[in-house]
Symmetry: C2
Subunit: 337 residues, 2 copies
DNA sequence: CGGCAAATTGACAGCGCTGTCACACCAAGG
DNA sequence: CCTTGGTGTGACAGCGCTGTCAATTTGCCG
């Protein structure tokens, strides 16, 4: 039969309530008493019964991870990170795919809250900045942590210095001698798109290169958008087209490389291409893609840890900056002479 | 305040136990009584309290999905399907990434069971056929459904006719005039590898083509393995090399296409390539990949539904066959004259 | 119409844990 | 020496629901 808290209490020679105190890491338990209880727990391999804890304490020990993101690799990583943090604190995690665009988006989340009563949520882009949802979460008093939100003030979660990362990768192209560098912009609803664009512009400014509106093309983070954008860029008159393209993510960069093939351009001989995110596709295309590595798994972990912190003590938790790194691969090379 | 079962009972003029019966869809409730209760539930927007149900009934209303699979796209689809089915039955789902190879694999699952007490599990390849785990699940009396297991007898879950799918895609190559068709085999631990190999052989036999052991190359489902295998194939003496390659999954097919570029071979002009699974990469490489479409999301849904069925009534649930389809794209073409 | 079995409904306890509050104990201060 | 106030511990009820079993109603038969 199952080992219950009461059994541990008997073995340790204390009351059930004291065992409960130790279990919940509460104050006002004397050192030796705590030791005794912990020893008994370990000896009996005691596992608290989640539903009973939930029922009695009105907590669920559940974190919900919300997403609406086509990139399954990114999500798998974030998810794995959140899961690690949850395991550490004996929480469970549930995932929920959503469509931000749908009319009943907020309603759906509301139903999720009513049904599962998660103690907190981890929000991923672009859900991080949905005003209606954030409002509702505050009303329902559901704490949340954000991964790469647009608005960071007063939030907890994790982010990387995206403008700086974008600046760095474009500076790399500049260092290779490129002067006409194009940018394929991301989806307008994602903050990342603006940050990456601003980093791109900053790098041009730093190098004293002119900004050319014709070299800033709209995209939406999809492979197809990369193809479409590149077709326009590669059709520009000779001398006006780019010798290098910085796409706002890897999928679009892959699209750019595809379109280059279509136009008879060799990468990186005729045109250099780089992306952002370092998803698996970056190593699965030919040539392999120079990109920015974002520690997604670690970021998921950090976001969840901040959330769990804030759950433990109201007001705790912070907005943490994670490091990025430049992955140099085969898709970038010196500008043609 | 929260609407409780007791509140519904009062509103409907029956005892709490009767409401509970209706909630759990039990027999022996008269039609009109049931109606009254359902009406009251709807009017009050009643949501049962999961932890309380769990505590009282010793069920968790939780399905765990176990995986150890590098393909995040495949998993994301399966996961979404399982989630759909769970939502339908008011169950929740948890996911758990694992490493089959690690020493404590079974132990980890055991801890998961002890901690969360899932009512059932959905197993994905290659976890579907881990003898030690299955043994443990039986001991712990945790029901499970399998997605594409090697051994189907006495199991519930979902599968597609993989040998037939492989045969069909190879027959497509034969119809295009190819006579020297190579196969890059999948990971030995996955049943899929054997089935796809057998379908490949069957197609050759059907067409009266000889089997050439030199054209059956080992792989492991990874992009790199596809590259390595293709390098060997493309280095064969003129006249012994393949004019078409059937890789056991899309990632390896992408690797083969990469290696073709390396060797100066144009796809599909010099060599045709096809894959299996229809993951997003199939549309993200150039040329786009001819492959077998597997309805992963639907399969996740079916597996979960079978599991939930068997939970409801012991002995229910079946091993269901799902349909596949051939996706003709740009990577296959007529054999060179 | 009585009598019996089956169908339907309800009373009650209790699942395993924690919140509340009362009590016991101790050190410091008068 | 007794008070005071803080600290550590325990008794007890109850979280919202379901299992058990008893009570009641219904349907059916002779």
């Amino acid at each position: 039969m199952r080992v219950r808290l009461e059994d541990v209490a008997r073995a340790a020679g204390v009351s059930p309530k004291t065992v409960s105190r130790v279990l919940n890491d509460e104050a006002n338990v004397r050192g030796p008493t705590r030791e005794k209880v912990l020893a008994a727990m370990a000896a009996m391999d005691y596992r608290p019964h989640l539903p009973a804890r939930s029922l009695a304490s009105n907590r669920s020990f559940l974190i919900a991870t919300l997403y609406d993101n086509p990139s399954s690799n990114y999500l798998a990583e974030i998810q794995a990170g959140v899961l690690e943090a949850c395991d550490l604190h004996h929480y469970s995690m549930m995932v929920r795919p959503l469509q931000v665009q749908s009319d009943d988006f907020v309603e759906r989340v509301d139903r999720l809250i009513l049904h599962h009563h998660p103690d907190g949520m981890v929000l991923t882009p672009p859900i991080t900045d949905h005003a209606g949802l954030l409002q509702r979460l505050r009303e329902r008093r559901v704490p949340y942590a954000c991964v790469s939100p647009i608005e960071r003030d007063g939030r907890i979660g994790v982010f990387i210095d995206e403008p700086e990362a974008a600046r760095r990768i474009v500076a790399h192209l500049v260092a290779l001698g490129h002067r006409r560098i194009a940018h394929v912009i991301g989806h307008p609803a994602h903050g990342a798109s603006q940050w990456r664009l601003s980093g791109y512009r900053r790098a041009l400014d730093d190098a004293g290169l002119p900004r050319d509106p014709g070299l800033e093309v709209e995209g939406d983070f999809s492979f197809g958008a990369g193809v479409a954008a590149a077709r326009r860029l590669f059709s520009l008159p000779r001398g006006q087209g780019p010798t290098a393209v910085f796409a706002a993510n890897d999928d679009m960069a892959a699209g750019v490389i595809w379109a280059a093939g279509e136009h008879g351009l060799a990468v990186p001989r005729d045109v250099s291409v780089c992306g952002f995110d370092d998803t698996p596709i970056a190593r699965q295309i030919w040539p392999t893609l120079t990109t920015i590595h974002q520690p997604s798994r670690e970021m998921g972990r950090i976001a969840a840890l901040q959330l769990l912190d804030s759950l433990r003590r109201r007001g705790a938790g912070a907005m943490v900056q994670a490091p990025f790194s430049l992955q140099l691969r085969e898709s970038t090379g010196p500008a043609a002479a």
